[in-house]
Subunit: 231 residues, 2 copies
DNA sequence: ACCTGAACACCGTTCAAGT
DNA sequence: ACCTGAACACCGTTCAAGT
């Protein structure tokens, strides 16, 4: 395959990051190497290192750009709906860019001072505040929500990447269901019993159900029912 | 460093997996290579490939062994306490073996028919059932719990691995808190406001608080209050 | 059946040399 | 200042050859 880019414009950090995102989207984390990247950009490895310190920084920049775009959610509406919208925005972003999952986990912990962590934290936390969660509980509550959202979305991204490539989603779930039904009845009574529920389930619905479960928990623990306030 | 093992016994799959776990625990995911492994076992690469198909299978086996050990939790007690105990068991296992985090995410999705997924699912799900969650909601509820637990534990494992190596936990949290306090007041009012709460927080406590939040949500949504049942 | 270890096709990164 | 591209020190995996 001939290089897509003929180097009309000069190289720049932005163009490098852009190409990296394209490679990641097209061929996954393994598809981004300095070889594929130099080929795509019609340049040499050293040229890339002139603009970017190392592969980690490249991945950070790629993540930041995509997440910033994903978090531009309409600001208005009830806090609960806002949280659902932000959650879905992240879910969809991770589904379309499965390489985000790994990246988010490592950036949230490795560099919480970077821009990605505050961005996500702010988008959720602001609405947790608006929900009425009292001071002193906002950090923990927001952390729990962010953890669930990124954990679930990440799990889902792994689902998307993996699996036998040509097997449809339905076939995959069918295989899991079958495998669970054949587990030892003494050791795995529960897993066997819910095996059938695996078959039809919708990942996105299940994700939202989880968000609602956490929201219900927040309501129950931190927002004692008052007359005139809807559940 | 001289090889620790002098090859007194014959090579076996078990000994290889055992050595892999030791290397992973000692030097992290990057520390396990076929070079370090052959050195440790005083053998050649081909010998390992005779017992194990590839590196992925090696990581699977390592994960399975450690998780099975971590899930041997006392069976009795109230379901809620059982869930907390299982959750903490997984949390601690991942904290002691941070490489588990990545591994669990990929195994839960890539091979839900493997032994790891059913093991975790069964340990939590059985107690979700005992809690009284009605049929038709057990799969989704258990998924949400497992997602939160593995997501939080995984995030924590990343914390453990990363950070400037010599910085103490307190110093690290202090740096994060400071960085958050310096964010733009217009863009990050919430994050700035909770920056102080980062400083003192205990990860384990916060993890458990999250589990309790999900449990409260399950109670609120699926276990309508009845006279004679304690919250 | 089980093991050896050189060889292969990759990585990320560096760096003298060019313009 | 910006870029080239060969070279370095690694990877995981294979495979003819040994016992």
């Amino acid at each position: 395959m001939a290089p897509r880019t003929r180097r009309t414009e000069a190289l720049s950090r932005d163009r490098i990051v852009e190409a990296a995102v394209e490679l990641l989207d097209t061929s996954g984390e393994a598809g981004l190497t300095f070889r594929t990247l130099t080929e795509r950009l019609a340049t040499g490895a050293g040229a890339i290192y002139w603009h970017v310190a190392n592969k980690g920084e490249l991945l950070e920049a790629a993540t930041d750009g995509v997440i910033a775009a994903a978090l531009t959610v309409e600001p208005a509406g009830a806090p609960r709906d806002g949280i659902r919208a932000v959650a879905l925005g992240l879910y969809d972003a991770i589904e379309h860019h499965p390489w985000l999952a790994t990246q988010l986990t490592s950036q949230l912990s490795r560099s919480p001072w970077g821009s990605v962590t505050p961005r996500i934290f702010e988008a959720i936390g602001r609405r947790v505040h608006a929900l009425g969660v009292p001071e002193g509980h906002r950090f923990t509550t927001t952390s729990a929500l962010v953890t669930y959202i990124l954990g679930a979305a990440g799990q889902n991204a792994a689902n998307a990447t993996s699996a036998v490539p040509h097997a449809s989603r339905a076939e995959f779930l069918d295989a899991v269901s079958k495998a669970w039904e054949e587990l030892d009845p003494d050791d795995y009574p529960f897993t066997r019993a819910v095996a059938a529920e695996v078959r039809g389930h919708d990942d996105r619905e299940q994700f939202l159900a989880g968000v609602d479960l956490v929201l219900a928990g927040i309501t129950a623990v931190h927002l004692p029912a008052r007359p005139g306030r809807a559940g």
